[in-house]
């Protein structure tokens, strides 16, 4: 890969941050994140009072696993294919900067936009509900924010990889959409396989499921992330009415975080491979 000039990486990252922090979609989605925190806290509370952080997170976890990948895909899907198509890469890469430095700079710059967006949206909301409602686990909420950032970075890494793979911006959009729905539909796909192999829906609700079913969490970054958040709050058993599912021991915090890192790093390596091979 050759040596990396950290100044070049910083320079590209700073430019990406400045160019994207004012992206209207990022501003809109950040505002939505903040409003959702307040809304779910209100819904989780009683008698018009805000609920605590833990009950808020249980509500937020599903919606954030849709919105955060969306922000990341919006930021990353055209970062390479779009610039190659528009012509700006022809200028940038005529400067003394390597493709690896550009790629890392882009990841760090766009990653910073995601981090700022989550910190503003969930962070400020979290401070308000902690101050007004009290109780709950502020550490758990902090872990939730960190894991949400990690989810955002995973989807950013995936969308940059897709952007490096596809030649044109329009096909990158298609790739981004497939990636987005991949995470959403994986649990349904596995449920289908489960039923197809002789199990019933009731088995899902009672936790009478084979251990391979849990591998679904490794294939869907969003499901994996939800699992990590539960572990973060120390939850190992999900109970909803008659439904009671205990998380298997092999899906412990260490394994879950390791798989997060695999989802983060492998697409970045692939993105570099595709980008390096590409003619600009």
């Amino acid at each position: 890969m050759g040596s990396i000039n950290s100044k070049s990486v910083y320079c590209v990252g700073k430019k990406e941050f400045l160019d994207n922090i004012r992206n209207k979609w990022v501003i809109v989605l950040t505002t939505i994140l903040f409003l959702l925190v307040i809304l779910f806290s209100y819904l989780a509370g009683a008698h018009g009072r805000l609920g605590n952080t833990q009950s808020t997170v249980i509500g937020l976890i599903g919606i954030s696993s849709i919105l955060i990948p969306l922000i990341a895909i919006i930021l990353g899907f055209s970062t390479i294919s779009g610039e190659a198509e528009s012509g700006s890469f022809s200028v940038v890469l005529s400067y003394p900067v390597t493709r690896l430095e550009v790629l890392l700079g882009k990841f760090l710059g766009l990653g910073s936009v995601i981090i700022v967006s989550i910190l503003i949206g969930f962070g400020i909301g979290g401070i308000i509900i902690t101050a007004l409602a009290g109780g709950g686990s502020w550490l758990g909420y902090l872990i939730f924010i960190v894991l949400t950032i990690l989810l955002g970075l995973i989807y950013l890494s995936l969308s940059i990889c897709i952007s490096a793979f596809f030649k044109r911006r329009i096909t990158s959009i298609g790739g981004g959409l497939i990636m987005f729905f991949w995470g959403m539909i994986m649990s349904s796909v596995f449920a289908g396989i489960l039923i197809g192999t002789g199990h019933s829906i009731k088995d899902l609700a009672t936790g009478n499921i084979p251990s391979w079913y849990w591998l679904e969490n490794f294939l869907s970054p969003t499901d994996l992330n939800q699992l990590a958040v539960m572990r973060g709050f120390g939850i190992s058993n999900i109970r909803m009415g008659e439904i009671s599912v205990t998380l298997p021991d092999f899906l412990n915090t260490g394994v879950v975080l390791l798989v997060h890192l695999v989802w983060l790093i492998i697409p970045l390596f692939l993105a570099y491979y595709f980008f390096k091979k590409r003619d600009i």
Partner: protein, 351 residues
């Protein structure tokens, strides 16, 4: 080629290297891995090349976009790169910057190989692509600041550069709101960051109005006057003819000619054109001229007769016209243009 023993400034290890006067050599100390550049003492020999392209081939799928081309550009020269659309001009220029991967060949700029020492090559280049684009949400100052940082150049040059290309009134505007001409001017400004010794310009006057075309041409001349080597592609043949010391014409991925414009015309046997202004032609070619030998082409437009012939035939043409009773008011000799060489070459090649 001379040998030189240099001492590593860090570990004092002695390294022996070979090179030519003025040549830059990148070396790594085998003892402590410190990297450095050593320039051999003495000046580069006169007529040394800033750009050396040797056996460049680029294949896109099954098409050879550039087919084993070689050319050199002398230091301090303005070199025009001409060819019809799809001939391989942009592919060649992009390969010179490492933007596209070549299938074979090697390219050296300022003595550095683009594949082995791309950073060193790019430090000494200013490049203007044919299709220019920047970042919509940034201002021109932020844009040039970014490029200054990439090149390690002090940002104090940004405002003078913007003034130099006439964008001083647009410094607070977002680049996304720029017209095509303004983008081109910003592109030209970014090429000048760090005073590179080699400029590679792909259609530099494209999209500019007449006023800015002149400014850009003057700028190219000025940069060249300051010692810069300039290679540019253009479809405006008169522009190339007025600016370039030498030209190369590329067609279907192959260089079909490379020389000065007068030498090209000479080698292609393109003759000067005589423009004869008379009072009574009335749009007809006189019989004395149409039947005369030694004339390559003849045309008439109202009372102007255009005759393409050797210098030796000119006197014969004028005498014949006078004897036939035509009153000659004025005579002009137009030297062959690059366009004629270009057309003749491409026609010869079957384009």
């Amino acid at each position: 080629m001379t040998s030189k023993t240099v001492m590593c400034p860090k570990c004092k290890h002695q390294i022996t290297i070979e090179g030519n006067p003025g040549e830059k050599v990148i070396l790594t100390c085998p003892n402590c891995n410190l990297k450095g550049v050593f320039t051999f003492p003495g000046e580069k020999p006169t007529g040394s090349f800033s750009i050396q392209v040797n056996g460049l081939t680029k294949i896109f799928k099954d098409t050879k976009a550039v087919n084993n081309i070689s050319f050199n550009v002398k230091s301090g020269e303005i070199f025009g790169f001409l060819g019809p659309n799809g001939a391989g001009k942009t592919t060649t220029l992009k390969a010179m910057l490492g933007l596209i991967h070549m299938d074979s060949g090697n390219i050296k700029i300022n003595g550095f190989d683009i594949t082995k020492n791309s950073k060193e090559v790019k430090c000494g280049i200013g490049y203007l692509p044919e299709k220019i684009a920047f970042y919509d949400n940034l201002t021109p100052v932020q844009t040039l600041n970014f490029f200054c940082e990439l090149k390690g150049v002090d940002k104090s040059v940004v405002k003078p550069l913007l003034k130099e290309v006439g964008l001083e009134d647009a410094i607070n505007k977002k680049v996304g709101n720029f017209s095509k001409g303004m983008l081109q001017l910003l592109g030209i400004a970014q090429t000048m960051i760090g005073n590179p010794s080699v400029y590679i310009l792909d259609e530099p006057t494209s999209g500019l109005d007449a006023r800015w075309v002149k400014i850009v041409r003057d700028k190219i001349k000025k940069l060249n006057g300051q010692g810069a080597t300039i290679m540019f592609s253009s479809h405006i043949l008169s522009e190339v003819q007025s600016l370039c010391d030498r030209v190369a014409i590329i067609d279907k991925g192959k260089i079909v000619a490379e020389d000065t414009v007068p030498n090209l015309n000479k080698s292609l046997k393109i003759k000067p054109r005589l423009e004869i202004y008379t009072s009574n032609l009335n749009g007809k070619i006189p019989d004395v001229i149409s039947k005369m030998g030694g004339i390559d082409a003849v045309d008439v437009k109202e009372n102007i007769l255009y005759v393409t012939c050797d210098y030796s035939v000119r006197v014969k043409v004028i005498s014949a016209l006078e004897q036939a009773g035509f009153q000659i008011k004025d005579i002009k000799t137009v030297d062959p243009s690059l366009e004629e060489a270009f057309m003749k070459l491409l026609f010869k090649e079957g384009a």
